[in-house]
């Protein structure tokens, strides 16, 4: 991959759930260290887009390229190993495992045992190492999931609705964290929190009924009132 080349390029993506088509000719481009947000109403197809990139759904047509490599048809664990880490929306961690064991799973898969980076971003996790993940609050779970995804220095973090249901103080913390994370990886966020989107995004895709209806690539144009039209 040469400098300036997209770390992720989705082209003409069509995805369906059985007979029901959800995404129509979606194009999306992400450069290294870019924060890209996808906004849209519930059911617009944002999560489907992330799941397709993560390899959980098989597209009907289109390509998902990382450099010269097409991710379509690859298994989700292979895609994760290639540096595309998906943090799903539902905040379901491995509840019977402790925080330490959850992080160990991330370390073992990537052979990255340096947890200092994770605990630098989320110091609270240090105090929760021996607690079962099932007993964490929503915010702590989100920290754990993002922290675990950071192991192995991913190329792209695909984060689905990270602030949903979280307290404003935690959202503010995550906003700062996402800014820091983008120094080392590209972020693709599905998010409905427009102040957050406007504060950190380099590019915004508005999705409506499975189609990209707007692409705001200029930071000056990424404003809450502009994005709000698509919600």
């Amino acid at each position: 991959m040469t400098a300036g080349e997209e770390v992720l390029a989705v082209k003409g993506l069509n995805v369906s759930y059985g007979e029901s088509k959800v995404l129509f000719d979606v194009d999306l481009r992400v450069r290294p260290n870019q924060v890209v947000a996808c906004v849209g109403r519930n059911g617009a197809g944002k999560t489907t887009l992330l799941k397709s990139i993560a390899g959980l759904l098989k597209p009907l047509a289109g390509s998902i390229m990382s450099g010269q490599i097409n991710l379509v048809g690859r298994k989700s664990y292979e895609i994760a190993k290639m540096g595309f880490k998906y943090v799903p929306q539902d905040k379901k961690v491995f509840s019977d495992l402790t925080v330490r064991e959850n992080l160990e799973l991330g370390s073992y898969a990537t052979r990255d045992y340096n947890w200092d980076r994770v605990t630098d971003y989320f110091p609270k996790l240090k105090l929760l190492m021996d607690r079962k993940a099932g007993y964490l609050s929503g915010g702590e779970r989100q920290m754990l999931m993002i922290g675990r995804a950071l192991l192995g220095s991913p190329k792209v973090l695909l984060i689905d609705e990270p602030t949903e249901g979280l307290a404003p103080s935690i959202v503010s913390h995550l906003k700062h964290i996402f800014g820091e994370l983008s120094k080392n990886a590209a972020l693709v966020l599905v998010e409905q929190n427009l102040p957050l989107v406007c504060a950190i995004s380099d590019k915004v895709y508005a999705i409506k009924e499975g189609r990209i209806v707007a692409e705001l690539a200029d930071r000056n144009s990424i404003k809450a009132d502009v994005c709000e039209r698509y919600l």
């Binding site: 664990y77 994760a80 880490k85 160990e104 799973l105 073992y108 898969a109 947890w115 240090k126 192991l151």
Partner: protein, 332 residues
Amino acid sequence: MMKAFQWWWGLLLAFSLLALSRVFLPLPFVIEVVIFSIYTMGCSFLLGRVGFISFGQPAYLAVGAYATASYLFYFGTNPYIGILLGVLAGLTISFIVGPLFVRLRSDYFAMVNLALAVIVFYLTQKVLAGITHGDNGLWFLTTIASTPVLDLSRPSDFFIFAFMVALAVWAFYKYLDDSVYGACCLATKINEDKFKFLGYSNFNIRLLAFVIANTTTALAGAMYAVYLGFVSPEISSPSRAADPVIVTILGGAGTLYGPIFGAFAYTGMKDVISKLIGNWELLIGFFLVLIMLAGEKGIWGTLQPWLEKRLFRKAPALKTTDTSTDGRGARR
């Protein structure tokens, strides 16, 4: 030091009780408990850690038993070599059927394993009767050679051997439980989709668990063969398919010490009650229902918190929260 002791106290307790039981209880009973607990260990691991219920364990038990029996009947006399061949046979069959079976959902997995048990039963009873001698079975008790140090043809020596093998198997499963692989097994059981996002193949994790569990079962089969000096198709009878599952649940699925408590309770009930009444299975059925209604975590799952509370009442004061975040110190 305290922590290490807490890790192993259950194992020490279980094995001390087992060793002690040798003094008070008949030797055949204790040997059966030891072998049955090895038999159940694999089933407990599959059910408790990976979430797979298997009604096909008699098939793997029979593969181990018949491999050992065939060697001792047709080719040699050394029981150690026989047991080794039984384990290798279990390993081989697990690698052959594992890739097909572990792709299935848990309910289909249970059924396809039961089907395998039926196939093995009819193979040993009818199709391969020329080799297995059908219902007459293979009888080789008198051909087992005496071996130095531990003479497995003597029940008292066999007990020591079985005891050491069981200890090694339990130590191995304890190691697995505490390893990252153990956490991987639990993670694939809890949420297989999210596990994939971390870069793991559910298939590989499950296949390894399947091979480990069924090789353990084959080891138990090989030990049954040497101990009894006789193997018949009855060992793979589908009517006994639920036995290891019952013992697993009775002892506490996925718990390390559950199989030994389950095997002890089940074998004990069977032995005691069958001497008193004819239709003993019926009464055992009622007992099992009562025990499971009383504590769905099984015997060990119910006892463990109670014992910990009493034996380690002061332990929390000694505990410190380890806030070490150096992943290099993590289990690998």
